[in-house]
Amino acid sequence: MEMITKVLTANALLTAFAVVGIVMWLSNILSAKLTMGRVHGSAIAILIGLALAFWGGIATGGHKGLADLPMLAGIGLMGGAMLRDFAIVATACEVDVEQAKKAGLIGVVALLLGTILPFIVGALVAASFGYTDAVSMTTIGAGAVTYIVGPVTGAAIGASSPVIALSIATGVFKAVMVMVGTPLVAGLIGLNNPRSAMVFGGLMGTVSGVSGGLAATDRRLVPYGALTATFHTGLGCLVAPSILYLIVRAIVGG
């Protein structure tokens, strides 16, 4: 047993490839047998991944899900920002330039709405729970944009640690819900073409939520969604601690 642990830990990335491969293989079987292919294998795999992350978090008390188990530390590298961005950029070769150009302007509109709408919801909910000062409202509102915009904004305007934690949790929860919810509502919101995928990427934000959600819906839409989603966090970090904070402060004072 000790020998197995040693080998698996020493080859962390290979262990991750093997574990993820097995999860995907199981998911494809479940998809075909249990749902007759109606639910994508990748959607089931992402759900299993999230469930395992929950279990890993409970088991270790850490913040990185399954990657906190020493034997599965390779999951952290495999699913980390470096390889994620590398693989997303690789999908650019599937982008149809003409289609992307057609959706350019509407993508920008979606990006702006995707920052402002969640911010308003987050700030209002924060206020209704008693966080009525401008700094807390802005930080939690920014967290509803993405889980990176939240802490970046909070740090910039001097929010307290529990408020920053709440804003991160809101963003993570939203990203998780995007991954789970997108395949369920895809038909309802017309998510079956490059243009709506670009609108979706701009509105939903978080590269992880968008890429996970689109992967679970239709793999071919991923590059279009990623193309706009990638600007989401940057835009949020730009406007949340500046313009949006000033607006909130002007409304609620202090």
């Binding site: 991944g49 929950f54 990185k64 839409l221 970090c237 730009l238």
Partner: protein
Amino acid sequence: MIAGVALLAICTLIGQLLGEGLGVLLGVKANVGGVGIAMILLIAARMWLKTRGRYNEGVSRGIGFWGALYIPIVVAMAAQQDVVAAVEGGPIVLIAGVGALLLCFSAVALISRLSGTPETMDEIEAREAREALDAARAPSPVTTH
């Protein structure tokens, strides 16, 4: 094959670098559009190589391999989220998260409806397959009748 992986890596690195630079320029503590810039660079590089006839099988396979690994990487990404914190955040996290989500889903639906019905992914693929077939037929004269 390594040429494709290297090209992909160079595009990704330059994209990240420009994204960081853009962030500094705008006074933002984040990478602004690094992945998007890298994607545009890769598309441009591919078009440039194609016009010079240098976009060969190896380059294409090196990039394609990582594109194909994309879904497994997303599964690994899902497996390292702080799901416990998201669940334990309580009602404020739940309401703000779901509220923002529903509003954004509706906005996607609204914008998609307002801007007419474009070709779906299936229709685009069907049309491209048809065009490819026509193109393949065209050069060789058909010898019927």
